[in-house]
């Protein structure tokens, strides 16, 4: 995550010249804000508070509400939804979701890391179209991704028809719905996010470092594993965890490409909120998923705040490579 630099010499200069007409002043640079400036700051914050924090609070409250037969709910304070969440069925669903997301995160970062590295070292002529392809995949609706993988892996339209046409198989076969088609779909939607997370760090690895390692006799592969990977270890961890959170929230893929036993918690949330019309239970699972995500996001921010690719420690890394 990028945090904003909250330092602007321009304002400090402004106070020196403008004769304090707008309520600015003070040498510590942290000025008392005028009404207009407060409005500029607090209006957007107010909008976010009303339309994000308030709904979030309502959701937490709703998870304790009483469900009424017929799809409604009324205020109350019961633990029905939460105790149901910790029943065997949903603990099993949670464990399945976590395992599936770990697998997808592992596969995705394992491919995205070397790919992004090669991408950052390419000429613009190759780099721009590849970036557009990656971002194009990013903007694809999950619905379209699920639909296209369904076409690819299905019996009527899928790749096995090509194998039959080539004489490699006697009959087309369907891979969807199935576990591995869910993995493929999730990896497809997560891959661009992994590339975007890795890109800035890998892009900033100083060319001199890798050149130095190679001048000192390290092969490109050795340079990659002993210079690039250690320098970008934190970005790698961040990408892994972001993909993990992202797939945990993925909703459509598992619904279209999997059977009910392949549903993740996110699918259960939307299913409970709409089809099963049990909003309190949906709210409880949503809070639970938020908790898992927040822990992971917290770890990412912590790792991200320290992921500097410093020139200072570069020399040691190069020395270690050779």
């Amino acid at each position: 995550m990028s945090t904003p630099a909250v330092r602007d010499p321009a304002t400090a200069g402004a106070t020196a010249v403008s004769p304090g007409g707008d309520g600015r002043g003070g040498d510590d640079g942290r000025e008392r804000l005028g009404w207009g400036q407060r409005a500029i700051l607090w209006l957007p914050v107010g909008v976010l508070a009303i339309f994000f924090l308030v709904p979030f609070g309502l959701m937490l409250a709703t998870s304790f509400y009483v469900r009424v037969e017929g799809g409604f709910y009324e205020p109350g304070f019961v633990f029905d939804s939460w105790s149901r969440l910790f029943s065997d069925v949903y603990i099993g669903r949670t464990l399945f979701s976590l395992r599936l997301c770990l697998l997808v995160a592992l596969l995705t970062t394992a491919v995205a890391f070397p790919f992004t590295w090669f991408l950052t070292r390419m000429r613009a002529r190759w780099q721009v179209p590849l970036l557009v392809l990656v971002l194009g995949a990013l903007t694809l609706s999950e619905v379209i991704v699920a639909f296209s993988w369904d076409l690819i892996l299905g019996r009527a339209t899928g790749i096995t028809n090509i194998a039959v046409w080539l004489g490699l198989m006697s009959e087309p076969e369907a891979f969807t719905p199935g576990f591995w088609s869910v993995v493929a779909g999730l990896a497809y939607t997560a891959f661009p996010y992994a590339v975007l997370t890795l890109f800035p760090s890998l892009d900033r690895v100083d060319r001199e470092l890798t050149e130095a390692a190679e001048t000192l006799g390290a092969t490109p592969r050795r340079t990659f594993t002993t210079v690039v990977v250690p320098l970008c270890r934190q970005a790698l961890v961040a990408a892994f965890l972001l993909v993990f959170v992202f797939t945990l929230g993925s909703n459509i893929i598992a619904q279209v490409l999997g059977r009910p036993q392949h549903w993740t918690l996110a699918v259960v949330i939307s299913d409970q909120a709409t089809m099963s019309a049990n909003v309190p239970f949906a709210a409880a699972i949503a809070m639970f998923v938020t908790l898992i995500s927040l822990v992971v996001v917290g770890v990412v921010s912590f790792a991200g705040s320290r992921s500097w690719v410093g020139r200072d420690d570069g020399d040691d890394v190069v020395a270690g490579a050779v």
């Binding site: 804000l33 700051l41 339309f51 308030v54 369904d150 459509i252 939307s270 709409t274």
Partner: protein, 264 residues
């Protein structure tokens, strides 16, 4: 390493384009069911898209929601990014975090929150509910591009304007805003494209009365595959790629990615 590079890049390109190619083939196939190889081509599914009123209204809904929510996202992000950057209030990390948090959490969380919120307000199933939900959820994107843009502006430029007698408001309008425009446009386009393609929030907030394109696609999938779905997917993918290609030409793409442009 060179062989590895070729292998990895080829694999990724095939992996990312294969679904698109299959959808493309299905969209031009005359038959309802796709046999390989395609023998008979037709553009009837594309004309379906224009003539069928249901698809038309889904496209209209999606475009309206996309434009309005991207505008709202920028209206939230621009003052917040500017105020946090310029006034550096004591709470800036918290305020910036509030702008980033909705997007960091899975969209299904925002979806449930918004569902509960509009139920409580008693304003259910309206298109403006989706616009607000998307505007808040995607405001993170322009918030990040605009913050990066503000950081890239040389402070000396603003100082010069002030020295020459510009009031803060005038300085913002004549110096900061023009310099910030690429970042604003980048954030707007990205939020627009993401909103066009978003499913779960739109579905849970107003999916039963306001059918957006992803919702329409998903609903049609339930009743079985029609090549019209493939045609609409192709059109939307092209739209996204054109928007991003424009950003790449415009120079905002690397900025969006947070690449360090100073050493180029």
């Amino acid at each position: 390493m060179r062989a590895l590079r070729a292998a990895v890049v080829t694999f990724v390109v095939v992996f990312l384009t294969a679904p698109l190619l299959v959808v493309l083939m299905a969209s031009f196939n005359r038959e309802r069911y796709l046999d390989f190889p395609v023998e008979d081509y037709s553009t009837q599914w594309y004309s379906n898209l224009v003539t069928d009123g249901q698809w038309r209204s889904a496209v209209d809904n999606s475009l309206l929601i996309g434009l309005a929510s991207a505008t709202l996202a920028v209206l939230i992000a621009l003052p917040l990014a500017y105020a946090v950057h310029t006034y550096r209030p004591r709470l800036s990390p918290v305020l910036f975090g509030l702008g980033v948090l909705p997007f960091m959490l899975p969209p299904v969380i925002s979806a449930v929150g918004m569902l509960v919120f509009w139920n409580r307000v008693g304003h259910v199933g309206k298109i403006e509910n989706v616009i607000v939900a998307h505007g808040v959820f995607f405001s993170t994107v322009p918030l990040i591009t605009i913050t990066l843009g503000l950081q890239a502006i040389d402070p000396a430029v603003g100082e010069a304007a002030t020295t020459l007698g510009a009031a803060p408001r005038q300085r913002f309008r004549t110096v900061t805003l023009p310099l910030l425009l690429p970042s604003i446009v980048t954030g707007f386009v990205a939020a627009f494209v993401l909103s066009l393609n978003e499913y779960i929030i739109a579905f849970m907030v107003a999916g039963f009365s306001v059918e957006t394109l992803p919702i329409k696609i998903f609903n049609s999938l339930r009743y079985g595959f029609t090549p019209t779905i493939a045609a609409v997917s192709v059109v939307f993918t092209l739209l996204s790629i054109v928007a991003l290609g424009a950003l790449a030409r415009f120079g905002g793409l690397e900025r969006l990615l947070g690449a360090d442009l100073s050493d180029r």
